[in-house]
């Protein structure tokens, strides 16, 4: 059961992220929701590669007969973090432009496009 704890955290993080996307009116909070989902997915990838009592997967440094963690999910996660930074920066800069043009970041008032 305790082994599944990271995955429960993943579900909670993604759930919180989706909640704030759906129910929050503030664009900054929507951006935070996106980063929450992203953290959840990253945690999921990292948790996949975890092994108990294992060391970092560096062959020349690892002692004989010790298990190593799986490096691929970490590489995937690293890529995903880098992409996530770009996404967050873009979302926040668009929010900035919207604030300049509309004078508000409340989604109820930013509704010029409809129909």
């Amino acid at each position: 059961m305790i082994g599944n704890f990271p995955f429960v955290t993943v579900i909670i993080l993604i759930g919180l992220g989706i909640y704030s996307l759906l129910f929050k009116k503030n664009l900054i909070k929507i951006a935070i929701g996106l980063t929450l989902i992203e953290s959840g997915v990253n945690l999921f990838l990292i948790a996949l590669g975890f092994r108990k009592e294992a060391v970092a997967p560096i062959y020349t440094q690892a002692p004989e007969g010790v298990k190593m963690v799986l490096p691929t999910p970490q590489a995937l996660c690293l890529t995903s973090i880098v992409i996530g930074v770009a996404t967050t920066a873009l979302v926040l800069s668009i929010v900035m432009i919207i604030y300049q043009r509309y004078g508000t970041i409340n989604t109820d008032e930013i509704r010029r496009l409809r129909g």
């Binding site: 989902i37 996949l48 995937l76 996404t87 300049q100 043009r101 010029r112 496009l113």
Partner: protein, 522 residues
């Protein structure tokens, strides 16, 4: 020369990517040349794509291993699964690649005049080239994580392009934000699904995962996530709310590329259901889900389009509606995948119609968006109620609009008729009702475009549009090329279906061949 062309799959990605980052440097010295550089690079990419297509269609699928000792060696040192990033190009992938190449090239040509007055052009072309790169990547890759990376690049660059005009007003930024939120969630859910696959099968290569697919509970969750988010990115009902905003607020040339980008997501949806899952999934249920998504998209898209008065918004709703035809055609093929007799008699035909419609839609919807862009370029408005009598001043644009509108409404001898007829015929054998809905939607489409043509082009010349002239040459050239392709496809549909579309459909259906290309042995 031949040794360079061996690397054509890598060059298709590398050339636009390199040009994307040369553009801002060049823009510092000479502002005029960057548009030509972008057009030249995308033209070269188009030639490379045609070269690859010729090879794929004559010699079978191409495999390109990045960083390997040998290009085609997927399993070095006796490995049982590939570990490097592999580009796996079969007839379906290169079919989409051709569409992307044509559309991106013409968008660059059109932009030469269309975007001339704008500032920040170096960024515009950088983003356009990045978008083209990422679409090629999505369509050619055989590695699912690599797909995710290109998917994110496509999202980021297309969002920035949608919001490109936000220096003038707030609406583009609003549309951009909606698109960004949708794209980010899609990409993250794709990544989550990749995690689910990797956790179970220790593989990221699509062919490898497909060969060991068990269809466990986790695979079902991954399937639900992938189908939902990819159809959302493809702009199908009920997740279509971003489409009209993003399509109408982006510059016209970009809208054309966005249509192709949505189709790249549609391609990914077909790739996932056919090449990754294939017969392991419950094809009847998933096929019917895709059919229902398609029918809803067709109907809701067209009914929403009729009431629009913004010309690009109207066309964007038609784009949703036309996506429905593709989903319908391919969905029917998926629903009868396990039934060889039905697949033989009408399943393959329906898929041919759906896949052919992807190419036709990219061409005529691209042409229509370009004509809308031309109207906007000369009149400065997208509001149909304020236009009128423009056929007097813009004869070429009016002609191209007629060609595009006739094609989208399915009137012979244009290409829309060719693919729609295949869909009607084959879907009728599957379920007559679906075919009747498809025809009804086509009639409504015609009605809506008659309205657009009437209010924009017909009628007496308006006083304030007396001085309006025809658009510049580069814009006419881009539209004329698309119009020629439309007429050509409309006149010789069986040629295209036989040589390009049929191999693409067979590449989708035949999962064993897809996995054997990577893993060897049949």
């Amino acid at each position: 020369m031949s040794s360079i062309l061996m690397h054509a799959p890598a060059l298709v990605i590398a050339l636009p990517l390199l040009a994307a980052f040369v553009t801002p440097i060049l823009g510092r010295f000479n502002r005029k040349t960057i548009s030509w550089l972008a057009s030249f690079t995308l033209g070269l990419t188009l030639l490379l794509t045609i070269f690859i297509a010729k090879q794929v269609l004559t010699n079978g699928p191409i495999v390109y291993v990045f960083g390997g000792t040998e290009i085609g060696l997927t399993l070095p040192f006796g490995y049982s699964m590939p570990i490097r990033i592999i580009f796996q190009i079969d007839a379906m992938g290169i079919f989409m690649g051709l569409i992307t190449a044509v559309v991106a090239f013409l968008a660059a040509i059109y932009s030469i005049s269309y975007m001339e007055q704008h500032t920040g052009l170096d960024k515009y072309y950088t983003l356009l080239l990045l978008l083209a790169t990422s679409m090629f990547g999505m369509e050619l890759t055989g590695d699912i994580f690599n797909f995710f990376v290109f998917f994110e690049i496509a999202s980021i660059s297309s969002v920035a392009l949608v919001a490109f005009r936000s220096t003038i007003s707030g609406e583009p930024a609003e549309a951009g934000l909606k698109y960004m939120v949708v794209s980010s969630i899609s990409a993250l859910m794709v990544l989550f699904a990749i995690g689910l696959f990797y956790g179970q099968y220790d593989a990221l290569n699509i062919a490898t995962i497909a060969s060991v697919m068990q269809f466990t509970q986790l695979d079902k969750i991954a399937l639900i996530l992938l189908v939902t988010v990819l159809s959302m990115k493809a702009g199908s009902v009920p997740m279509h709310m971003w489409t009209p905003d993003a399509y109408s607020e982006a510059p016209a040339a970009i809208t054309m590329v966005l249509v192709a980008a949505s189709q790249a997501s549609l391609y990914a949806l077909f790739r996932i259901t056919f090449s990754l899952y294939n017969v392991t999934l419950n094809t009847i249920t998933v096929g019917w889900i895709i059919i229902i998504l398609g029918v809803l998209s067709m109907f809701i898209g067209v009914t929403m389009a009729i009431i629009q008065s913004d010309i690009k918004r109207l066309m964007a709703y038609h784009a949703i509606s036309q996506t429905g035809y593709m989903l319908l055609g391919v969905g029917v093929g998926l629903a009868v995948l396990t039934n060889p007799a039905a697949l033989e008699s009408y399943g393959i035909k329906a898929m041919e119609g759906g896949i052919f419609h992807i190419m036709n839609h990219a061409m005529y919807k691209g042409l229509l968006f370009l004509t809308a862009g031309s109207l906007f370029y000369r009149t400065g408005t997208r509001d149909l109620n304020r236009m009128g009598g423009l056929a007097h001043n813009m004869a070429y644009t009016a002609t191209f609009f007629i060609i595009g509108a006739a094609a989208i409404a399915g009137i012979p001898p244009f290409n829309g008729f060719a693919s729609k007829l295949i869909i009607y015929e084959s879907v009728y054998q599957f379920n007559p009702l679906l075919s009747i809905i498809a025809m009804l939607v086509s009639i409504l489409t015609l009605a809506s475009f008659v309205k657009v043509f009437h209010s924009a082009f017909l009628g007496p010349q308006l006083e304030h549009y007396k001085s309006v002239q025809e658009v510049p040459k580069s814009m006419v050239l881009a539209m004329a090329t698309l119009a020629c392709i439309i007429v050509f496809f409309g006149l010789f549909p069986e040629l295209i279906v036989k040589h390009i579309v049929h191999p693409a459909v067979m590449a989708l259906i035949d999962q064993a061949r897809y996995t054997a290309t990577i893993l060897g042995g049949i």
